[in-house]
């Protein structure tokens, strides 16, 4: 029994050390200036072209951004600062090592994870723990997307650090410390990738909005897999134009099946302004499929909101 435990312990030890060793070259210290002065945080490369993920508080509004990679410093430009998700995407003009992306769908409570960042003025530091839960609200308020709550200790300066699984893949971006740094929230990488893909395709973030408010369903005669219905529907919104009606029970939005309010939040995050999305709803005893074309979300960053009007939908083209 002891031998078996010891073997498992050695295995974890080797795995964690290996993940740290392989990821460390792709993790950078970020220094910048904002209205409150000089700030320091962490970021990591996501591709070989110098694209960096970090938290919004580090790179979302700051200027004079400098990235330290090894013993060299590089100026960085901001591609995206998205306050809605709490992340920012920066770019350094250099080739870079990078951390591969994982599918956070694989994550479950008690999955071991590792955060690696630059706490205060200390060198690169790993912190090991487990996924404590996948939360869609915090202190009674809904989050924009299901967040990874990690029982991983983080310190000041580790905002923007990668959260890795034991395969060495990034599963999230550390954006929030919880209860004096004893835990943290990480924004899931799959949601961050939606923002990055928006930038790659359109040169900006295009969060979609259809103009409905949903609530838990009150009727008992609904499909057992759905508990969410359209509670309020504004006139002249994409939802109204697409044919949605008050009382419709949501069964599926795009590829996401709706089984809980959490699913609605996640599905709505993946809406892209101008891109038609199928809504499958239950109306009475019928199942109806409707096509809805979202417009720009009212909470989108200002530079996005000033983009040419999308109300009628414009043809989308790949800009890469």
């Amino acid at each position: 029994m002891y031998a078996a435990d010891n073997t498992a312990g050695n295995s974890i030890n080797e795995t964690v050390q290996s993940v740290f060793k392989h990821a460390q070259d792709a993790i950078v210290k970020i220094e910048a200036v904002d209205d409150r002065g000089h700030l320091c945080g962490t970021g990591f490369f996501i591709d070989p072209n110098g694209t960096i993920y970090t938290s919004y508080s580090v790179g979302g509004e700051s200027r004079d951004i400098v990235v330290t990679l090894g013993d060299k410093k590089y100026p960085a430009t901001r591609l995206i600062g998205d306050p809605r998700s709490g992340i920012a995407i920066l770019k350094v003009e250099t080739s870079s090592p990078f951390i591969p992306v994982a599918k956070t769908n694989d994550l479950a409570t008690a999955t071991p994870v590792l955060a690696i960042g630059y706490p205060v003025d200390l060198p690169l530091t790993p912190s090991f723990g487990v996924v404590g839960g996948l939360d869609w609200n915090y202190l009674g308020q809904p989050l924009v997307f299901t967040h990874i709550r990690a029982r991983v200790a983080v310190q000041r300066g580790e905002g923007g650090a990668p959260l890795l699984n034991l395969k060495g893949e990034v599963v999230g971006i550390v954006t929030v410390s919880l209860d004096y740094g004893t835990g943290c929230y990480a924004f899931p990488i799959e949601a961050a990738e939606k923002i990055r893909m928006d930038y790659v395709r359109f040169g900006q973030v295009r969060p979609g909005w259809v103009g409905i408010h949903v609530n838990l369903t009150e009727s008992k005669n609904v499909a057992p897999a759905s508990v969410v219905q359209v509670d309020e529907l504004l006139d002249e919104t994409p939802a109204a134009k697409g044919g949605l009606k008050k009382g419709d029970v949501l069964i599926q939005i795009g590829d996401t099946k709706i089984a809980s309010p959490q699913d609605v939040l996640n599905a709505s995050f993946f809406l892209t302004a101008g891109e038609e999305v199928p809504f499958i709803v239950q109306r009475g005893k019928e199942t109806v499929t409707l096509k809805v074309q979202p417009v720009i979300h009212p909470d989108a960053p200002r530079d996005v909101a000033t983009f040419p009007p999308m109300q009628d939908g414009i043809p989308l083209r790949m800009q890469r």
Binding site: E31, R36, G37, H38, L39, C40, G41, S55, Y56, S57, V58, P83, R84, S85, G86, P119, V120, D121, Y138, Q141, P142, L143, V144, F145, H147, V154, Q155, R156, G157, E158, G159, G160, V174, T175, V176, S177, L178, G181, C184, Y185, F187, W209, V210, G211, I212, H213, V214, N215, D231, E232, P261, V264, L265, S268, L271, H297, D299
Partner: protein, 137 residues
């Protein structure tokens, strides 16, 4: 002329005309405030003299003891003042003769005036930025 029953009725009515409990608290606070204001109107030396007199009267000391104690207080105060003045002049002398770079005050001033880059703000939020206003989308 009121008879006894009328007086009793009046007393019963008057019972409800008492001020609220807060009134007494306020009254006490106001009283203490006025007392302090009155006290502060006197010069400091007069207040000190009153305190000293009160102290000696409480300890029932004689006139000679009172004079002796006052003289001793004045004597020790004089010696203390003399020592302080002497030590101050020594400090000035040492400072004037010492080489400038060895003064301990210099590094402190230099540290305080360092640019902000030496004291960065290490960032991590304590609340999610990514709150959604409601289940509207």
């Amino acid at each position: 002329m009121l008879d006894e029953s009328d007086i009793q009725k009046l007393l019963r009515l008057k019972r409800y005309e008492q001020p609220s409990p807060q009134y007494f608290d306020k009254f006490l606070q106001d009283f203490h405030r006025r007392q302090r204001v009155e006290l502060l109107r006197q010069p400091v030396w007069k207040i000190a003299m009153e305190r000293i007199e009160a102290f000696f009267s409480e300890h029932s000391m004689g006139r000679y003891a009172y004079a002796t104690a006052t003289a001793m207080v004045l004597f020790f105060a004089g010696i203390t003042s003399f020592n302080i003045l002497n030590s101050g002049s020594q400090v000035v002398a040492v400072t004037a003769n010492a080489p400038q770079q060895s003064l301990p005050i210099k590094p402190q001033i230099a540290k305080a005036s360092l640019p902000d880059a030496q004291h960065p703000r290490y960032v991590i939020d304590t609340r999610p930025a990514s709150y959604e206003r409601s289940f509207s989308f």
